[in-house]
């Protein structure tokens, strides 16, 4: 009973935040809403007996990724999206995609509806840090290693992208080039 | 001798490639383009000489009845073999190819000014691809050479062609490539049919497939057969070109350099008719008979249409090109009569058309080199300043029209006879459609006479109307020397057709019997005696 109430509370909050994220034109509001989603999902993970994932969710998503995003928003000092000069067909496309995915969600719901209900058991070992840690360094050692490489590479990549520009601004060069081309014709 | 017997065809294919490589090396190390023509001429002539070894009496037929056969595995993963060999049918076409090449090279003596290295390399590569087409007995290898012959020709037209060369080259390439790609699908489909039904694993080997069909281990379902037949036929019909797929031909011919036109007319078009005869008849005898009416109809339309359009052409080269359409219509007609006479005639017309039309293109090329125009109206009374040229041109035209004692006549006559005897089209109580077809084709001969003679009249006779033409130099010794073998052949083939026909007889008979008997036809062809003897010309 309590579990259901909590689930609907958090689920409702998550969906509201998600919609608000899409709805808001201002990227910062979107970001805040998204943090809301993350936090409510984290709470849902706790009800799903996955405390480790819940903590990591907060730590990585809310604490690292979104801080970066907010940082970038502040750095670039972004304004609201203005004007509807958007390619019109995208609305149709998005609507279509939404309908398809919703239908799919119903389909999944329908398919899984009769699955037996697993009783709430907070002592389940699957979500415990120890279990996850053990699995990570035995069975899942290889993925962890790959993640290591992945992170190393991401560091290299982002440093390279963010490093101060050694090249001159090339845009002007490109424009001049196209002028020359135009003259030749 | 064993070595030669085993590898003669491979040598024929490889020699031009070696020539091409040497040409490239020559260009890289000596950088003297002027000597290249000698090198190329040497190699093409050498190839011709080597190809004469095909006449060798000591040649032994291989296990599948082909001479100079060679069969080694090539790519095992897809079960294709490097299987080559010649029979009476391909034999002459190989000779024709090697014969035409030196002449084509000679014709470029002064005509090609720019980028000679590339030009000669392409010519040599083209030769080896063409020989490959005629000798391959493996479907995939055949396809491979068939496509490979496209590229050099594409470049020849595109780089050394006339003003509208790009359009012509691309059109040529895309038309032919499109057809042959569908053929590729059909080839692969055959592979699987063979694999499924014989349980031996797939094979691209023409002989193996034909044998399997003969013994009944491979039965192509009728509907599939029709589709495959049409796929093959489309590829070849485009190449021939059969009306209505002919539109690339006038463009390609007109824009190509003289050597290109000569090769195109003399050899490349024959790939289509050769393919029809070898593959369509060999692999799909039933369907060939079933669809013969279509081909005969298209051939007749082609003959008449080609002639009518040729009549109104202002450009000599274009006129000759359209005459090719008409001639190839005759060839198709003869083939699809499924009588020995008709098919022999078709082969004979293929050869004579190669010689005659090649010669015509050469002649047009000569005048083009002098005047840089091919408009009929730009000439008139050329027989005055250029008597030798006029003489040769008239003889060649006569051969093209099909005047008796010249080569055109024999083939067309045999075709008509064959078609007349044929029973491939329906015979109702009131109408023998074969005879009707023959009659329509006969009008084509008359049309040919009309447009060719009219053209000759406008170009060579009367007064010299254009001032420039008065001072035109007559043919040089090189040019005359180049024409002499062709003229000789025109006459010789017109007078002594027997050695030619005798060589191809058994092969043609085999094909004809395959079509008629495999199909369970009721016609007994023992009675349809081919008038092959050639006595009448003696």
């Amino acid at each position: 009973m309590v579990g259901t109430a909590l689930f609907f509370l958090f689920a409702g909050f998550a969906i509201m935040c998600a919609i608000s994220m899409v709805y808001h034109k201002n990227p910062l509001y979107s970001a805040i809403s998204l943090v809301g989603v993350f936090i409510s999902l984290s709470c849902i993970y706790i009800t799903l007996a996955a405390p480790f994932i819940a903590a990591v969710q907060i730590l990585i998503y809310a604490g690292a990724i979104m801080v970066l995003v907010v940082f970038v928003i502040m750095l670039l000092n972004l304004d609201d999206d203005t004007g509807p000069n958007r390619l019109k067909y995208l609305y149709t496309l998005g609507g279509g995609l939404g309908v398809v995915l919703l239908a799919q969600t119903f389909f999944i719901f329908y398919a899984v509806m009769r699955a037996p209900n697993v009783p709430s058991d907070q002592t389940l070992s699957a979500g415990k840090t120890l279990t996850i840690g053990q699995a990570m360094y035995t069975e899942y050692l290889l993925p962890v290693e790959i993640v290591g490489v992945l992170l190393l590479m991401a560091i290299i990549g982002s440093v390279m992208l963010a490093r101060r520009l050694a090249q001159p601004q090339l845009e002007i060069v490109v424009e001049r080039e196209s002028e020359i081309r135009h003259d030749e014709q | 001798m064993d070595f030669l017997n085993a590898n003669l065809l491979t040598i024929l294919i490889l020699l031009p490639i070696i020539g091409a490589v040497l040409t490239l090396a020559h260009q890289m190390f000596w950088k003297q383009e002027s000597q290249l023509k000698w090198l190329t001429l040497g190699f093409t002539t050498l190839n011709f000489v080597v190809s004469l070894a095909l006449f060798s009496k000591s040649a032994i037929a291989g296990p599948s009845g082909y001479f100079f056969e060679k069969n080694v595995p090539w790519i095992k993963a897809i079960g294709t073999n490097y299987h080559i060999g010649v029979d009476g049918l391909s034999f002459w076409l190989v000779i024709l190819t090697t014969f035409i090449m030196p002449i084509a090279v000679l014709s470029t003596w002064h005509a090609v000014e720019k980028k000679r290295t590339a030009f000669y390399i392409f010519l040599l590569l083209l030769e080896s691809a063409m020989i490959g087409v005629f000798v391959s007995l493996d479907l995939l290898v055949f396809y491979l050479f068939f496509e490979a012959s496209l590229v050099p020709m594409f470049f020849l037209i595109g780089i050394w062609g006339g003003d509208n060369r790009i359009y012509a080259a691309v059109k040529f390439f895309i038309f032919t490539a499109f057809g042959s790609l569908l053929m590729l699908v059909a080839i692969i489909a055959l592979f699987f049919l063979y694999a499924d039904q014989t349980g031996l694993g797939g094979s691209f080997d023409l002989i193996a497939i034909m044998n399997a069909m003969k013994t009944g281990t491979l039965v192509i379902p009728p509907q599939t057969g029709t589709l495959l037949f049409l796929a093959f036929a489309l590829a070849f019909a485009i190449k021939v070109p059969l009306f209505p797929f002919h539109t690339w031909l006038p463009d390609a011919h007109t824009e190509a350099p003289t050597a290109g036109s000569v090769i195109l007319a003399a050899v490349l078009l024959k790939m289509g008719t050769y393919g029809l005869m070898r593959f369509n008849f060999g692999l799909f005898p039933d369907q060939s008979k079933e669809w013969a009416w279509l081909f005969i109809a298209l051939a007749i339309v082609g003959i008449i249409y080609g002639a009518l359009v040729a009549m109104v052409q202002p450009d000599v080269k274009r006129l000759v090109a359209y005459s090719s359409v008409a001639h190839m219509g005759f060839v198709i007609l003869g083939m699809f009569s499924f009588t020995e006479a008709g098919m022999q005639g078709a082969l004979y017309t293929m050869l004579s058309h190669g010689v005659t039309t090649g010669a015509l293109f050469l002649l047009v090329g000569f005048i083009y080199e002098r005047r840089h125009t091919r408009e009929i109206t730009a000439f008139g009374g050329l027989s005055n300043p250029m008597p030798i040229y006029a003489t040769i041109f008239v003889i060649t035209t006569m051969a093209s029209i099909g005047l008796p004692f010249l080569n055109g006549f024999v083939g067309e006559f045999l075709i008509m006879v064959g078609m007349f005897q044929s029973q491939v089209l329906g015979i109702t109580a009131s109408v023998n459609w074969n005879v009707v077809a023959t009659m329509f084709a006969g009008t084509g001969v008359i049309f040919a006479a009309v447009y060719l003679l009219w053209m000759v009249q406008r170009v060579f006779f009367g007064k010299v109307t254009v001032e420039k033409n008065k001072g035109l130099a007559d043919l040089s010794w090189r040019e005359i020397g180049l024409m002499i073998p062709l003229l000789f052949l025109m006459v010789y083939m017109g007078v002594f057709p027997k050695p030619f026909l005798a060589r191809s007889e058994s092969a043609i008979k085999a094909i004809q019997e395959r079509v008629m008997h495999q199909a369970g036809g009721t016609v007994d062809h023992a009675e349809a005696k081919p008038p092959v003897s050639g006595d009448e010309h003696k």
């Binding site: 009973m1 579990g3 259901t4 689930f7 609907f8 689920a11 998550a14 969906i15 998600a18 994220m21 899409v22 990227p27 979107s30 970001a31 993350f38 999902l41 849902i44 993970y45 009800t47 799903l48 480790f52 994932i53 969710q57 990585i60 998503y61 995003v69 970038v72 928003i73 670039l76 972004l78 999206d81 000069n85 995208l90 496309l93 998005g94 995609l97 939404g98 995915l101 919703l102 969600t105 999944i108 719901f109 899984v112 699955a115 209900n117 697993v118 009783p119 389940l124 699957a126 996850i132 699995a135 899942y140 992945l150 992170l151 590479m153 560091i155 990549g157 982002s158 992208l161 845009e171 | -």
Partner: protein, 101 residues
């Protein structure tokens, strides 16, 4: 009464839908990026729900990997967005149109 597997999957599906539609409706690259993060989260929820259902750690480990990847992706993605902004002074994808469509 506890919420069933189906309800978790439904929630995840709805969040995924919102994210996917958002990617298409959003005009600025950062917004799109956030929508993608939302989609990834929805997927994570699916994994955790199944992990719970099967009493199996695999799903949670997968989620952990996804999170690491998401962090890496964020670092690189934001770098790219900043680089674009530096040259264009905007991150509106509609204005990203030098390359013809």
């Amino acid at each position: 009464m506890e919420p069933s597997l189906a309800s978790y999957l439904a929630l995840s599906g709805i969040l995924f839908t919102i994210g996917a539609v958002g990617v298409i409706f959003k005009r600025n690259a950062l917004g799109m990026f956030m929508c993608i993060e939302l989609m990834l989260n929805a997927v994570n929820l699916t994994f955790v729900a199944f992990s719970r259902y099967y009493g199996d750690t695999t799903g949670q480990l997968f989620v952990f990997m996804v999170m690491s990847v998401a962090a890496a992706e964020a670092a690189v993605g934001l770098g790219i967005i900043i680089a674009f902004f530096r040259n264009k002074q905007s991150i509106d994808v509609d204005e990203a149109s030098i390359l013809r469509n």
